[in-house]
């Protein structure tokens, strides 16, 4: 996923899909799937059977056809697409929270970032992109199986050189001492983040930043209280993404005759609904219209940021 791991993998007009590549199979905006290309393998979905061998040598972004003539698009993976296709082992963070966290934590190439818990690795993937090529993400989850699955995923997406997954109960034990004073930023997604804060203080470089993600306001209140002794710039945000649906539609243009008199117009009969209506003229113009989708996520969580006070 990160061109950094192999310069040859960089997206370009000449870069073609190869055996072993990870591709995102795009059916529709709400239906995508990650597939590892394997000569001899096939993908079967409602559009038919797709031979992987047909894909090899095609550019990313190509439309490919099934035996039945159905088609899908093959896209190059990005952290954003990955977030839409990864397997949910936990609640995951989505693009709005992710992008805000990375900017607010001031993560740039070369940074060292600590994360707990790893969860499904949705944020981790974006963190890896942000610190690459020379920085590193150390991510921890107390759940052994979950950490192992995350490791597999990071191999698959090609970010394993940039990410190290550890099994550790950060709330109980804190981050490992070896990272003391080495972290540029720390991200916490824990039920009781306040328990991890003393460890975060030790890990952060001076002026470093921590972010805690919590769904409930009580968690925010308690974490903020704990942060106040050693941190400054304590700020809490909530971010949501509102999406719009676009349609090309017609709007009836309604007109009442100026005279307003009943039955004065010998107008043509139209559809049944407006039959008997002598006062109405209908004209239509096609326009592109957009409106917010009513199905929306109402809340994901609160993001609390704080910067370690500079006391030296």
């Amino acid at each position: 996923m990160l061109p950094v791991e192999s310069a040859k993998k960089k997206l370009s007009f000449t870069r073609c899909i190869q055996d072993g590549d990870l591709v995102i199979v795009y059916e529709r905006y709400d239906n995508m799937k990650a597939v590892k290309v394997c000569e001899g393998s096939v993908l079967e979905n409602r559009f038919g059977v797709f031979k992987h061998s047909d894909w090899i040598g095609k550019q990313f972004g190509s439309k490919v056809f099934s035996s039945k003539g159905g088609f899908v698009y093959l896209l190059a993976p990005t952290p954003e697409l990955w977030t839409l296709v990864l397997s949910h082992r936990t609640q995951i963070l989505y693009i709005a929270d992710i992008s805000f966290v990375i900017m607010f934590l001031e993560i740039v190439p070369g940074c060292v970032v600590l994360e707990s818990g790893t969860g499904s690795g949705s944020l981790t993937t974006s963190l890896a992109r942000a610190v690459a090529p020379e920085g590193h993400v150390y991510t921890f989850d107390f759940h052994e199986q979950r950490a192992a699955s995350a490791r597999e995923d990071f191999e698959k997406t090609g970010i394993s050189n940039t990410v190290t997954v550890g099994v550790r109960d950060i709330q109980g034990e804190g981050f490992p001492d070896e990272f003391s004073g080495r972290a540029d930023s720390v991200f916490l997604d824990l039920p009781q983040p306040w328990l991890a804060i003393p460890s975060v203080e030790k890990m952060l470089k001076q002026d470093g930043i921590v972010c805690s993600f919590s769904p409930c306001i009580e968690q925010v209140q308690r974490a903020s209280e704990t942060l106040r002794s050693k941190f400054t710039d304590i700020r809490t945000f909530e971010i949501l993404l509102r999406t719009y649906e676009v349609r090309e539609g017609k709007m009836d243009s309604f007109q009442v005759e100026e005279s307003g008199s009943v039955g004065s117009l010998p107008c043509k009969r139209r559809q049944r609904l407006s039959e008997g209506s002598n006062e109405q003229e209908t004209t239509s113009a096609s326009v592109v219209m957009a409106r917010p989708c009513s199905e929306a996520k109402g809340h994901t969580g609160y993001l609390t940021f704080a910067r370690l006070k500079c006391l030296s």
Partner: protein
């Protein structure tokens, strides 16, 4: 450490300032935000005092300073704040009941203060510190004792801000630059909010080694933000229709070292197409090379001219780029050059490979006409993100891309950001908020040849 790349190659510890480094000065907890370039001669006006910024050189980012009265006049002195600054919050908990008590009896008629302005000036002349003045004001306030603890703290904070201002030294990052401009001079950055900007970067998959094409009509903020993410790898190509490049002064506020500055290039849109169409053109471009180089320098100076014009009309934003420190920047020219004309060899590479990302923040151009032309420059499967203040241009563009089968994963989204006050017994969303962050159209380009 690659981080050095980001903060000037000559610097050993990017967590300390250096002579010539660009800093963000946060005065009184966000009340005033000033971008400055540190140097022996740089000065900052705080209240009615002109203070040298020299004492800030070599200090860790995150340090606090306050104005002290020295023999040679007022100067900035580093200090370590105790937890005092948080006392409102910390006392809040135990006084939540107190706070809820009403203040029926309190009549605040501004006559409660018996310490006159003259008396305060006299104290100053005698070398009293700001904190001493604040204490004197409290001692001479007739109503202070009658206030609730919470109101007392509010009063103290207000006086502290006026008589003992605190300056906090910050590294300029995309987030602070964006936040500062949005607060003080939103028009210059096209009202681009920080949360919208970071979505653009994510949606366009800006990552190390990317070749990012940008149309940046937001003063260089977008270009700088992309360059920050590239960290000295790949390229950000700032393109523009017509003959005059858009200003990118804001990109200069970032503390970019030479490595990163080299990766910020610009090119007229027409040149990108001409390279695309004819190989011969490229060599003819080679012939123009020198004159172009000169032209590019001219552009820089003409930009500087423009800058002064805008500075003149920018009294309201003098806080952001004080003229004094700004001229220092020009003279010392410590900051590496950025935004040079794109070199020819990478032109051919772009032609061959296409750009890997596209971001457009061009509120004054018609979105669809621009996208229609610019999209072929993108590699297939490359993501793009387009910012606009109005919904309709993006809706039209999205519809046309859909109908033309030029892209998939198309979505118009609007970020909705809310900041909270989290204090014991007083937690709620902030009462005043920037309620609109603009719209983004995002998607992925697909192959059109099959």
């Amino acid at each position: 450490m690659s981080e050095n790349k980001l903060h000037g190659d000559a610097v050993e510890n990017p967590r300390l300032t250096w002579d010539g480094c660009s800093v963000l000065l946060d005065i009184n907890d966000g009340d005033r935000l000033v971008f400055s370039r540190l140097s022996a001669g740089a000065k900052l006006k705080i209240g009615n005092k002109n203070c040298s910024l020299q004492p800030l050189i070599g200090c860790p980012f995150g340090s606090f300073f306050r104005v002290e009265n020295g023999a040679q006049g007022p100067y900035l002195s580093r200090y370590t704040p105790s937890n005092e600054g948080n006392s409102i919050q910390e006392q809040g908990d135990c006084q939540s009941k107190d706070e809820l008590r009403d203040n029926r009896a309190l009549v605040d008629n501004n006559k409660a203060q018996s310490l006159t302005g003259d008396a305060i000036n006299e104290m100053r002349r005698q070398g009293a510190s700001g904190d001493e003045i604040v204490e004197a004001l409290i001692a001479n306030s007739a109503t202070f004792e009658k206030k609730t603890l919470f109101s007392q703290e509010k009063y103290r904070l207000k006086k502290q801000k006026k008589y003992a201002p605190i300056v906090l030294l910050r590294r300029p990052f995309t987030r602070s630059i964006c936040e500062a401009y949005l607060k003080k001079y939103p028009v210059r950055i096209g009202f681009l909010r920080m949360d919208t900007l970071c979505l653009l970067l994510s949606m366009a998959n800006v990552s190390a080694n990317s070749d990012v094409l940008v149309v940046d009509m937001v003063g260089g903020l977008l270009t700088g933000a992309v360059a920050e993410r590239l960290g000295g790898t790949g390229y950000v190509c700032n393109t523009y229709p017509g003959g005059s490049p858009y200003p990118m002064d804001i990109a200069r506020i970032f503390n970019f070292g030479e490595e990163i500055c080299k990766r910020i290039v610009r090119s007229p849109l027409a040149d990108l197409f001409s390279v695309q169409t004819e190989k011969s053109k490229v060599s003819s471009h080679n012939g123009d090379s020198c004159s172009m180089e000169i032209e590019s320098n001219e552009q820089i100076s003409s930009t500087a001219g423009t800058e002064e014009v805008s500075l003149a009309s920018e009294n309201m934003m003098s806080d952001l780029i004080p003229e004094t420190t700004y001229s220092v920047e020009r003279k010392s020219s410590k900051s590496a050059k950025l935004g040079e004309k794109a070199p020819h060899e990478i032109f051919s590479l772009w032609k061959e490979n296409g750009f890997t990302s596209l971001i457009i923040a061009a509120p004054e151009l018609d979105t669809w006409s621009l996208v229609k032309k610019i999209l072929p420059l993108l590699s297939n499967s490359a993501p793009f993100a387009i910012y606009h203040q109005y919904l309709q241009p993006l809706a039209t563009c999205m519809n046309n891309l859909q109908v033309g089968k030029m892209a998939v994963g198309l979505q118009i989204s609007e970020p909705w950001l809310r900041e909270y006050q989290v204090l014991p017994s007083r937690t709620h969303p902030c009462m005043q908020m920037n309620g609109f962050g603009g719209y983004i159209l995002s998607g992925t380009k697909i192959c059109t040849n099959n």
